[in-house]
C-alpha cells in the first residue's frame, strides 16, 4: 500500500514540476496511438460498412479473418512487424525499424480488426428497411454510406474507443518495433516496464497513473460526444 501512495506522491510531484521527459513521453504516446487509431478508423469504418452491406463470395471468410484479428495478441503482431522491418527482413530497406512510424504501423494493425469488427456489427444492426428507404429517396452510394454511418454512429464511436483503448495500453508490440529508445520511441507503457525493471517503482507508478488518466480523459471526451446525441 505504501508503494501506491509513494507512487501517487511521485506522480503529482513530477506533474507539478512539469518534468519535460514525462511530458514528452506522454505526448508521444498520445500522438502515436491517435494517429494509428485515426488511420484505422478511416480504413476500418468503410471496410466494416462494405462488409455489412454487400454480399459477395468469400465474405464469410473475410469476416472470420476480421474476428480472428480482433483477438490477436498484440505482441504477436509486434513480432511479425519487427521481423519484417529489421534490416535482415524483407522491408529492411525502408529503415523503419525502431521509429515512431513503425509503432504507428504495428498499432494500426492491432486496431484495425477491432474497428472493422465493431463497425460491421453496428451497421448490420441498422434496420435494413431503412436502407431501402434511403435508396428509394434517391441517395447515391456516397450519400447512402454517409447516412448509414450516421445512423450507426453510437456503435462507431464504440469502435473508436475499442481501437484506441487497445493500442494505448499495449506494450509488447511497441517494445519490439520501437525499441523503447529514450527521446525517440519511448512511450508510457514501455517506460513503465523500464522503470520497474530498474527498480524505480514510484516512477513506474507515476507513469502508470499518467496512462490511466490520459486514457480516461480521451474516453470521457468521446463518451460525452456519444451520449450527447442520444435521444432525450
Amino acid at each position: 500500500m505504501e508503494f501506491l501512495w509513494e507512487g501517487i506522491k511521485e506522480a503529482v510531484n513530477l506533474w507539478i514540476h512539469g518534468d519535460a521527459e514525462i511530458i514528452e513521453i506522454t505526448l508521444r504516446t498520445l500522438a502515436i496511438s491517435a494517429v494509428a487509431t485515426l488511420v484505422a478508423l478511416v480504413i476500418g469504418v468503410p471496410a466494416g460498412a462494405f462488409l455489412a452491406l454487400k454480399r459477395f463470395r468469400g465474405r464469410s471468410l473475410i469476416v472470420a479473418t476480421v474476428n480472428t484479428g480482433m483477438g490477436m495478441p498484440p505482441v504477436v503482431v509486434g513480432l511479425i512487424v519487427a521481423v519484417m522491418l529489421w534490416r535482415s527482413g524483407p522491408l529492411g530497406g525502408l529503415n523503419l525499424i525502431f521509429t515512431p512510424t513503425a509503432m504507428v504501423i504495428a498499432q494500426f494493425i492491432i486496431a484495425v480488426p477491432l474497428v472493422i469488427g465493431f463497425s460491421l456489427a453496428s451497421i448490420q444492426s441498422v434496420n435494413p428497411r431503412l436502407l431501402d428507404q434511403i435508396v428509394a429517396l434517391g441517395a447515391n452510394r456516397v450519400q447512402m454510406l454517409w447516412l448509414m454511418i450516421r445512423e450507426a454512429r453510437l456503435g462507431l464511436l464504440a469502435a473508436l474507443m475499442a481501437g484506441f483503448g487497445a493500442v494505448i495500453s499495449e506494450v509488447g508490440a511497441s517494445m519490439m518495433v520501437g525499441g523503447n529508445i529514450a527521446g525517440e520511441t519511448r512511450v508510457l507503457t514501455t517506460a513503465t516496464v523500464l522503470e520497474t525493471s530498474r527498480g524505480n517503482v514510484e516512477v513506474a507508478l507515476a507513469l502508470g497513473f499518467m496512462l490511466l488518466i490520459m486514457a480516461y480523459v480521451v474516453n470521457l471526451v468521446v463518451t460525452s460526444v456519444q451520449q450527447q446525441r442520444r435521444p432525450t
Partner: protein, 376 residues
Amino acid sequence: MSNNSAARPDQEGAKLSVRRLAVSRGGTRVLSVDSLDVPARQVAVVIGPNGSGKSTLLGVLQLLIKPDMGELLIDGEPMRDDALATRRRMASVFQEALLLNTTVQKNVVTALGIHKVPKKERGPRAARWLERFGVGHLGSRHAHDLSGGEAQRVSLARAFALEPEVLLLDEPFSALDAPTRAALIDDFAATVSETQVTTVLVTHDRDEALRLANQVVVLIGGRVHQMGSPGDVFGAPADEEVASFVGIENVWPATLVNSESGVARYRLSACSSCELEVATGVAPQRALFAIRPEEITVSAGGAEAQTSARNRLQAVVRQVRPAGAVVRLILEMDGDPPIGVVAAVTRPSLDDLDIDVGSAVTIAFKATAAHVIPHD
C-alpha cells in the same frame, strides 16, 4: 422517346407504365404483370391478400427490386436509364416510418438535401409540410421519441416535401390503430387531391381502396386479376378470387337457362328448382352466381315479403353472428350439397324479424344486385 414498336396508344398520358414484367424469387415466379398504366395525377391502389406480390410490384417501381424481365416507363421513358435520377423524381413511404436517428426537422431536411433542393429552401419547406401534416410542433423532437402515428405523419410530410412527380406507398396505414388511421387517411386524401401527385398505394385494406382510389388493381397470386374503377372491381368482380377478396361471400355455381332483354335466368347447380334472375349484358353458359350479403333481404319464413325483388328462396337460420352495427346471418338452403348463404341485416331489423337459430326464413334480392362471373 421509346421506339418500341409495341407501344400502345393508351400508353400516352400514362405517368407510369409497366410491360411484360416478371419477378422470380428462389426459382418461383412471384409476380407477372403483362401491362399496367397509371395515368398522371391519378391514384392507383393495388390491393390483394398478403403474399400476392403487391409489395414486390411496388419494389420494382421504386427501383429497389430488379425484375427478371420487363419494361418500366415514366413519362414514356425507361425508368432504368438513369435509376438515380428517376428515384429523385419519386418519393416512397413504407409501413414503418423509417426515420433517421435524428430530429424530425433534420429527417425532412436530409431528404431534401438528397434531392438537391437548395440549402436555403430546405428549412422552410420542411417546416411547411410538417405543419401541413400536423406535426410542425415536433420539429426538434428526436424521431425515436414519436408515437406510431406521429412518426408516420413525419414520413408522409417528408415524402410530400420532396414535391415528387410520383408517390409510392407500401401499406402506409397498416401499422396504425383505427382512429389514428382514419384521421391520417383523411389528411392524406386531402393532400393528394390538392397536389395532384400521381400515386401508387399498396394495401390489403379494401376500405382504403374504396376511399382513395381512382383506379383499383387487384393482384392475387402474383397476377393482375382485375383493373378498373372501384365500382367495377367491387361491384363486378371479374372472377371468383376477386369476388372473394372484395367481400362477396355468396358465390353459387349455376348454369344458364335463358337470357333476353338484358336479364338472364340461371339455375343453381346444387338446387335444380332454384332459378334466379340477374341483370346482365353478358350471360355465360356456366357461371358463378354472386350476391353481396348486404343486398339480401330476409323475412320470416313463409310470409310474402313486401319487395320488388324477383328472386326469392327459402332458407333456414344456422347461425346468428353480431358484427358491430350489423348482424350476419348464416343460412342454409336445401340442396345437393346444401347451399350456404350469408346475409347481413341491421340490429333493429333483426329484432323485428323475431327469428332464431333454426327459424325458417325467406331471402330475396333484386336482379340488379346480383351478377354472374364466368366459370368453366
